[in-house]
Subunit: 320 residues, 2 copies
């Protein structure tokens, strides 16, 4: 089984690659080869099988075709311009998040083998004129360009799948916390940095108040879900290939308290509370309450509490 | 006020052009010029102002820019490949219905004047895993490529509007009945032809049974709604620029009975009942029950009964 991760240089792509490298298989089929592609050549990972890395600009249709040229049984399409950046540079967001996704779907279709395509969408597709509780049948009414581009790509993923061109599985990721590594340009960046930085002895700024509620998943559970998505038989996926992953709703205050429970008082003192209207403009349009019935019925997983997210960070990601 | 109708050669485009020609204004502003653009040069219409007609291939971004080159205050984007054709030729549907729409939105954005863009979407965006009653907040889960392409374009219309690039208004049209003229390749074609042809003394084939229920609007009310859409102040449109127009749910049997009431027994005898699985595959995925609260609150209109639809056809469209 040949696996390609487009966006394989990103945080989730790298964790996914390492997890696949350890497992050596997806759904009982041995992985024979893994290709990591990203805008900058991804770091290699240890694995039980050969791993290659390639630079890829997904706005270049021919280049995407070349990356899939040796065939692919499972394609992870994780590549995206994040919310803050897509809001600041509309054209870049359109070209990467929408046209780039079409390029991936088209190149996968061109293989003629109906490969599995696991696509990471986002809860940023939600917002606007819908009830507070997000059900599986709630309309997508994104209030960011990032969300709109993901929502448009979702419609195509389901249709390409219905047509039998690809076997798509679109997962609307909760906000991932705690993200390791450097801050990115996502408006949601603080939802990780106010834990990641203090847990490593550094100050961090929280641009919203402690009552701000949102919907979260740890990187560890996210990666498990990405692998699970590729393992599900097509028949169980139904008529909508895109759905919200499970997560948990926490207020920032609850999350800070979870950090205190796991790591003590010191990290908590390193959070500086400085409201930022530009970030609030974006994140206050996002949703906090979800009923991810479909994903739960399909056995996708979530953390038990935010203390899990803190512990997983300390186990998997802290820089020592 | 300069008005451009892209898709101005189609049935609705021509009716809209004639209606604007008679009114001479939109929302109290005099129309100074009307341009009709379509893949074949549209027929001229009588009007109180100059009317031009141009050939336009909307898959050609530069050509769309040229058509809007003299400026436009209101742009109607009605151009599309219909459902049956988009299902048969996926790539053509993508290029016209999605990429073509992006070309229109981009060319309108390039004007730098945030023009009003009235976009005709369709109830074909609904289907799949949603409750039977379609509310304004029901997820779009199209089960045709036509619907998926319209749904993707909707996401962009709302986002281009939120960004202030255009002032979009996306109307999900019910199935329009009774369509005059020749049959087109829409899977919904029979929903007009089984009335239009018999009312003109010709046989027609009904590929579904009399119990088949669907959601309808007359061409006359549709055109009124298209004009109304351009007249609404931006502020009332809210966070989702796309919504279902009002319509009425009828079974085919009720519609045939309405024809009998208005036009007597003879036309009814000209319907041949011949089930067609290929057409049923498409239309059985469409929805019949809608609660178009937003459109009704915004004073969009609908027919009182299908007898209206029959009478409007006899008044406006019958070939004598």
């Amino acid at each position: 089984m040949r696996v390609v991760i487009i966006g394989g240089g990103g945080m989730i792509g790298q964790k996914l690659a390492r997890a696949l490298g350890q497992r050596g298989e997806i759904g009982g089929s041995k992985i024979s080869h893994l290709l990591l592609a990203d805008i900058a050549s991804p770091a290699a990972v240890e694995a039980k099988f050969p791993v290659a890395a390639k630079r890829l600009d997904i706005t270049d249709r021919a280049a995407v075709g070349a990356v899939l040229g040796n065939g692919a049984d499972v394609i992870y399409h994780l590549a995206a311009i994040v919310s803050g950046q897509a809001e600041a540079d509309f054209d870049l967001g359109m070209s990467i998040n929408l046209i780039g996704s079409i390029n991936v779907f088209e190149a996968a279709r061109d293989l003629g083998t109906c490969p599995i395509v696991v696509f990471t969408s986002s809860i940023a597709v939600y917002g606007g004129e819908v009830p507070a509780m997000i059900e599986d049948w709630t309309a997508l009414n994104p209030q960011t360009s990032y969300g709109a581009q993901k929502a448009a790509a979702e419609m195509l993923l389901t249709d390409y799948s219905r047509k039998g061109f690809i076997d798509g599985r679109g997962l609307r990721l909760p906000t991932i916390s705690i993200r390791p590594g450097k801050p990115n340009k996502a408006a949601s960046g603080f939802m990780s940095s106010i834990f990641r930085e203090p847990l490593q002895g550094r100050e961090a700024v929280c641009p919203v108040g402690p009552d701000y509620e949102h919907w979260y998943l740890s990187p560890r559970c996210c990666v498990e879900n990405l692998i699970h998505a590729a393992e599900l038989p097509t028949i169980v996926l139904g008529q909508n290939r895109c759905f919200a992953l499970p997560g948990r709703t926490y207020s920032i205050g609850e999350m800070v308290e979870a950090m205190r429970q796991v790591a003590g008082d010191e990290p908590v003192k390193l959070i500086r509370w400085e409201p930022d209207p530009a970030i609030q403009d974006i994140v206050l349009g996002w949703r906090a309450y979800f009923n991810p019935s479909k994903a739960l019925a399909l056995d996708f997983v979530r953390d038990d509490s935010f203390e899990d997210n803190i512990r997983f960070f300390l186990e998997d990601d802290i820089e020592r």
